[in-house]
Symmetry: C2
Subunit: 424 residues, 2 copies
């Protein structure tokens, strides 16, 4: 997310004169994102993906698009904050509303050449169907001495708690023809597997748990009224037919899964203790919903982030040594623009997808998605992303940083590093 | 400007691993912009213009699009920070790289129903040619007992220094058929008029000066190589013909006018003194160049802002009671996106205007303008805008505010108010 998604969500959820929980954070800065070219890592690439962004945050190193905590060009494994913290005795957890094998959570747990090598079967698929990717899964097969898919690496990881979607990447054989599934592998490594919202309450003190609450991405909280999304603006005889404004409504599918706040609450209860802990929580579908022109979708997922943050701040209120950082892996396509063209509303409108959203406070927001004419998705943005922080020393953080510096801030707080900038 | 224009400029001017002067400011937050409907000011409007944004900053009140320091619906005159400061004995100045009659500088000096009532002749033009505007100039004619055009109000103002473009709004009769020009009016009010870069050095201690260095908007610093700008992406047989990357070059017209930094330096020399002062400096054409798809143009104008800021910081280093605020009236269309589509580069590209910019550090930036299909301009964005600050107490400023709160921050620093939020 970037400031666009935050502003759009604020206007809808609390009104233009209101404040999100996020807005009350004592520190806010901006982080320059940076990705590098796979073939020549000296060449900067200005727009990244969740893999390169997640890797920058988790490891403090700029890498190429698609890479998960491995170095551009060399495939060198990059140590993540979770591994360093775990080795130093901290409890560790990852929560995400997407598949927990997706790039951002994966960057905190796994190391792989190509983000879409999410489960054993998807490794073969990636190599067959996406030869254009700058990296592939070929070196990562376990049968070839590799580290295996992201799901296999999660199953064999040392984390204490992992909650999210992505069951399908685990509920499959570790290798074609094998009788052992990735779930079996996880159980052999000491994980309990939970699959229902009601199981969250049963997570016990020392259990190591993987929670998988949906096959892939978890359902989101809000949708456009009757499923409305942004669409290409229609014209008739050279005149713009402005789309009807719509409001947001609850997504019925959302009722069956735990909320991000419920998963966060369960994680805080599980990880709390004298060892201290590191927890990464991702409201993942702000990205996904913006890719697919679902304005109410990304509004609701900023809302989920805000609710999870409120819980974290409640925890920190009684545990003042807690550092909370909120940031993004990359910016996105959605843009808040006039709800009808200011200059020539009869003749001109966005050439891309456009939604008019009726807000509870009585206004109409124009939200534009116009980064390509693809039927498949919108592009990311390379805009600097917000960094919010609460906790010890946050007012001394610099207002501008590079995304890789977030890693150093975490390490310094954990007493595991100098807090200097990452390598980039 | 918003974080998009800043990131695009940083990548070009200092590189993705570099830092602008702006990036070294000790405080950075974000401000929610807010505009209201002219017919019913209770209804929020989520995307504003330079008039409503300038008014929010200058007066602490949210108004409707097009209004310059007058209240939506009622036309009530709203007191500006310059007027309050001047009445309290502070020296006052306004510097802008656009016409000094344009909406943002005007909001600090004048009060008018409609921003385009910039000079006596443009008042008639607005009312004849733009009946769709929600406000007009009809009540503001001097002959009808009004306050006159923006140029006339500047000429009759109490400011000490005004530097920028916009000569054409002053070099004309105050009323049709009259032998008195607006320049005459200004001279009668004690202003010296300067028109050349070399005159800047001659501004003396107590002179009150209006500097007009171009007919309208001042020429900008950079342009695309050979004049290149973003254009609609061409397709042939269903395949995308990606535009050739281009670099930026000096705009030859820029050599004849003072830079924003030169005007800022002259203003600081003139206004410095025991009375203290308030100075508003605007790098105005970040907006203008983004409206017209001129990527190198807005990159260069962020650069001009950065150079002017460096001078202000130098001044503050020896005058530590100085408060420096850097913010924007509204966000804009330009978006940093992948330089070729990530998913399907042969088939899909932006449906809007798109430029590929070759950066000095060896990368290529994709910059997208796709808010409407108009041949005339791009739209603004309603995204929250950055607020940077340096000076006494800035680390205690809240990371999130509303745009109208900037007015309160200025007043508090000047000892003229409580520093509470403006009315909105």
């Amino acid at each position: 997310m970037d400031d666009q998604q935050i502003t759009i969500a604020r206007n809808y959820l609390v009104g233009s004169r209101g404040r999100l929980v996020l807005d009350a954070m004592p520190y806010r800065g901006a982080a320059q994102v940076l990705t590098v070219d796979e073939a020549d890592p000296r060449i900067p690439v200005y727009v990244g993906d969740s893999a390169s962004g997640g890797t920058a945050l988790a490891t403090g190193t700029a890498t190429s698009i698609g890479r998960v905590s491995t170095a551009a060009g060399t495939d060198q494994k990059l140590a993540s904050v979770m591994e360093l913290a775990s080795a130093a005795g901290f409890a560790t957890g990852v929560v995400s509303s997407t598949s927990i094998t997706d790039a951002t959570p994966a960057a905190f747990v796994a190391h792989i050449d190509q983000r879409y090598c999410q489960g054993p079967s998807s490794m073969e698929l990636v190599d067959k169907t996406h030869p254009q990717y700058s990296t592939n899964c070929s070196k990562d097969y376990k049968s070839r001495g590799g580290r295996g898919s992201v799901a296999e690496q999660i199953a064999e990881s040392g984390l204490d708690l992992i909650l999210g979607g992505g069951l399908r990447d685990f509920d499959q054989p570790v290798e074609q023809g094998s009788g052992t599934t990735v779930l079996d592998l996880a159980r052999q490594n000491g994980f309990s597997i939970i699959r229902n919202r009601s199981d969250l309450a049963s997570i016990r003190g020392q259990d190591r748990t993987i929670g998988l609450f949906s096959d892939g991405i978890m359902p989101v909280k809000l949708r456009g009224s009757g499923g409305a999304i942004a669409e290409f603006v229609q014209r008739e005889d050279g005149r713009v037919l402005w789309p009807e404004p719509f409001a947001c409504e609850d997504n019925p599918e959302f009722a069956d899964v735990p909320t991000l706040a419920e998963m966060t609450g369960a994680a805080l209860r599980r990880l709390d203790g004298p060892r201290g802990f590191v927890l990464m929580v991702e409201s993942a579908s702000i990205d996904d919903q913006a890719h697919y022109w679902r304005t109410c979708g990304h509004i609701g997922e900023v809302g989920q982030l805000d609710e999870a943050l409120a819980l974290a701040l409640d925890y920190a209120a009684t545990h003042p040594e807690t550092l909370i950082l909120v940031t993004a892996d990359h910016g996105h396509a959605a843009q808040l623009i006039p709800e009808t063209s200011e200059l020539a509303p009869q003749e001109h409108a966005s050439p891309g997808r456009f939604a008019r959203i009726r807000t509870p406070e009585g206004g109409i927001m124009g939200v534009n998605y116009s980064t390509n004419d693809s039927p498949d998705w919108e592009e990311h943005s390379g805009v600097q992303v917000p960094v919010y922080a609460a906790g010890p020393g946050v007012r001394a953080l610099p207002p501008f940083m590079h995304q890789v510096d977030v890693f150093g801030i975490m390490l310094k707080h954990l007493g595991l590093g100098t807090g200097t900038a990452g390598t980039h």
